[in-house]
Symmetry: C2
Subunit: 481 residues, 2 copies
């Protein structure tokens, strides 16, 4: 028999030490592993399968919207990256630079892409000539490198990560801006319906927007350690990049203008948010719709009773669309298996032993609440389908409750400071001013503006909690990754 | 009306100037474009859609074989890369080195992965402990960089390319070697059945094998410019990497041994092979099974007769599974459209005009042979399905004929030299010797050994065409990329 639970399971509690719990979860549930490249992780099969599912679902929706996939080079020559001033200012401090090929020093340094605006828009400028070429809606699934010097955390903040980067160009600002709802709506659906992650949709302040964008829309998520984390985003770039990279078109009347552009992304960071949000002290908990293996079947006493294994195999076949695991190892105990698959987050465990068989039933344990139910085999089909839905629903409900419990509101600095200290996400009236946000950050010991939610209470007569002047908007403020 | 054919189409003939024809094909059919990063290309939607199809088909088959996908970091620390001597000797001259992050010089240079043995096997050595962990069958779809100083050619030889890299580990040499047939057989099926690319399966000579492998199996393909090009490959690594990276396991009796490993890959190079093989002086020709848009519908005179557009839309709906393009542009002529979609390689063109409608028929042009057929609408479903199959079959047949016409045999140097000069792939008896191959290369002005085909004529009594000694095997020799 192998090592017992105490050696394999998580040894700290989520409530007591979130950060150590998260690290143990990621490594012990075999989601990721560290490598000798500092800040970069291996995506092990369980996490990569989930990313592939997210990719496929997002991709299907993008194709329906008329978006086409492309693939641009990993490298960007330094001179090209520098064309858009705000953009390069935002990214240059984190760029990994290739300076040599073999023993040869390159004439110009190459940036490993931190994002692909520069390399893509050089081509857009060649390809777009007339209104007939618009809208141009391209996307790529790519690996990017941002050499953050902050403490890297698996999935949340890694120096290499994977994302989709949509880069669209339109003839008018109106058309470009209309894309925001479609894209953010699509990301919201993936987050809620698949990953069971609720969020706050809103606009970033000018200080927090994407380097080079006119404005940024985000979905902000919230973690059990009471910190916010930025999810998928959408940037409207106006004509900023079009002017820097000379992307012009002739309209139907032959008049020349710069195109209007957007970019948008969802990244592997969301895996970490999902793992952290739903998992517990026994290990990983996954929303069934995103889990690759949705069921594990554990036959008990099958070495003595071949009818048990026969039935287990029937059940495996019956639920083949859920990629069930049939754990027929002889060298470990059933108890060991229970703990292992709880740790690894299989949504439903079906136990079947000789006594169950006598009663034409199986025992089913739902991973999220560990509830145990005896189910007649003739009702198994219906039960499993329903219970997978139930788990999905419960996880989203719980995550929603957590988020709602964090939301608060304050109209003066004193009240805001107290609530931020209590780890709330606090809606406050604020001026649109970088200086105001700097002061806010200082006074709150590092809290920052998250986003300006789409649904705004009236701002009339409300004073900025920092400057005392008429506020420009209500904005969420809180501690964030 | 827009530019006419002579401005848009290919201006050189495939037979007369293959290399210029290929460049024009790639750019004018919008398969790829050059960028300001020398040797790297953009994969435009038409080529990327095809790569996604290949990826999905290969992936489906790998998953059935029990292979799981993972994702390892893009970077490999220099010291880690250097652990396997042969391996690093093979790749170091082409490595792109990251030396700085932002303004900070890194303590150790990082290689942009030319292939992932080094970074993956560091983890394998941690993950593999006992026979229970074997076989371990992982794969990743990744971008790699090999900074070749030879003239880059889109798809054939680019400094960044995309491939799958399978990395498997087994408890015994026998098990590991049994994987060769499965993997090479799977690649062969994808090449033949989807891409209509025939090839020669065989083993590389020791001189030409993968850096670090015990032996290499390949599928060698043949291009209309009478050059061979290496397709997908499979490497049996023995215990070479296991010893270098310390990947050991305990067998059922508790005895420790190194694992036995394989690696295998198919890359975006195959796109170029397929484009070059089937296309003609009018532009791109694609096997229907791999083409994303299999049909283009061209309504004629629809601006005057709305029944035409109604029928065109019905046909579009009828064949929605083939992702048809309905070209309803008013600003260009039907003739312009014909040429454009021929250039872009849509397998079937369906033309429909008022006269066709009167006769309840449409006109269908097959892209490969440009044959024109009138088809009654009631038979359309059957006809389209059959004709797509026919195109697929014709393309494979033609490619097969081309390959067969190139194969020849020689038993002495003089005969071999003549046939190699005639641009044949010549099967010759040879010694397994690096020196022999160096002489062969010199005497033939650069021809090299391709592979030792699986089916071998008797070698008994046959003399090596270079050394005159008893030969070790029959091996194909020819000019190759």
């Amino acid at each position: 028999m192998q090592k017992n639970k105490s050696q394999e399971g998580l040894t700290v509690k989520k409530e007591e030490n979130f950060s150590e719990w998260y690290t143990q979860l990621i490594t012990k549930a075999e989601l990721a592993d560290y490598t000798s490249v500092s800040g970069c992780i291996v995506f092990r099969p369980t996490s990569w399968q989930i990313w592939e599912k997210i990719r496929d679902e997002v991709d299907k929706r993008l194709k329906k919207m008329g978006v086409k996939n492309v693939y641009f080079p990993l490298f960007i020559p330094e001179s090209l990256l520098k064309k858009e001033q705000e953009h390069v200012k935002g990214f240059a401090p984190e760029v990994a630079w290739v300076t040599h090929a073999g023993n040869t020093k390159l004439q110009e340094r190459l940036a490993v892409r931190p994002t692909s605006e520069a390399i893509m828009y050089e081509s857009y400028s060649k390809w777009i000539r007339s209104w007939r070429d618009l809208p141009l809606k391209y996307n790529q699934w790519s690996n990017v490198v941002r050499w953050e010097f902050n403490n890297p955390i698996p999935f949340f903040r890694t120096r290499e990560f994977i994302f989709n980067e949509g880069h669209t160009a339109f003839a008018t600002k109106k058309e470009a801006e209309e894309e925001a709802d479609k894209i953010i709506g699509m990301y919201k659906e993936i987050l809620e319906n698949y990953m069971a992650i609720p969020g706050i949709i809103g606009k970033k302040t000018d200080k927090e927007k994407f380097a080079g964008a006119e404005y940024t829309m985000t979905i902000e998520n919230y973690l059990p350690n009471k910190k916010a984390i930025q999810g998928p985003d959408f940037h409207h770039d106006g004509q900023n990049f079009a002017k820097a990279y000379d992307i012009k078109f002739k309209d139907k009347n032959g008049k020349e203008d710069y195109v209007w552009q957007n970019t948008w992304a969802i990244s592997t960071r969301m895996l970490g948010v999902m793992f952290a949000l739903h998992s517990d002290d026994n290990g990983l908990v996954l929303p069934p719709k995103i889990a690759y293996n949705k069921i594990v079947i554990i036959p008990i006493g099958f070495e003595k009773d071949e009818k048990v294994m026969k039935k287990a195999k029937e059940i495996e076949k019956q639920f083949s669309k859920y990629e069930p695991i049939l754990d027929d190892r002889l060298e470990v105990t059933p108890g060991y298996k229970f703990h292992e698959w709880e740790l690894k987050g299989i949504p439903l465990r079906i136990e079947i032993g000789p006594k169950d068989l006598e009663k034409n039933q199986v025992t089913i344990i739902s991973r999220d609440n560990l509830n145990k139910q005896e189910v007649k085999i003739k009702y198994l089909d219906k039960f499993v389908e329903k219970e997978l839905d139930n788990i999905q629903e419960r996880l989203l409900n719980n995550a929603n409750k957590l988020l709602q419990s964090a939301l608060d509101k304050a109209e003066n600095l004193k009240d805001a400071l107290k609530k931020i200290k209590d780890q709330k996400l606090v809606l406050v009236p604020l001026k649109n001013s970088e200086k105001v946000e700097d002061i806010l950050k200082e006074k709150t010991n590092g809290a920052k503006t998250l986003n300006i939610p789409l649904t705004q209470p009236s701002i009339k007569g409300k004073k900025c909690i920092i400057s005392g002047e008429q506020a420009d908007y209500w904005v969420y403020v809180g501690k964030s990754y």
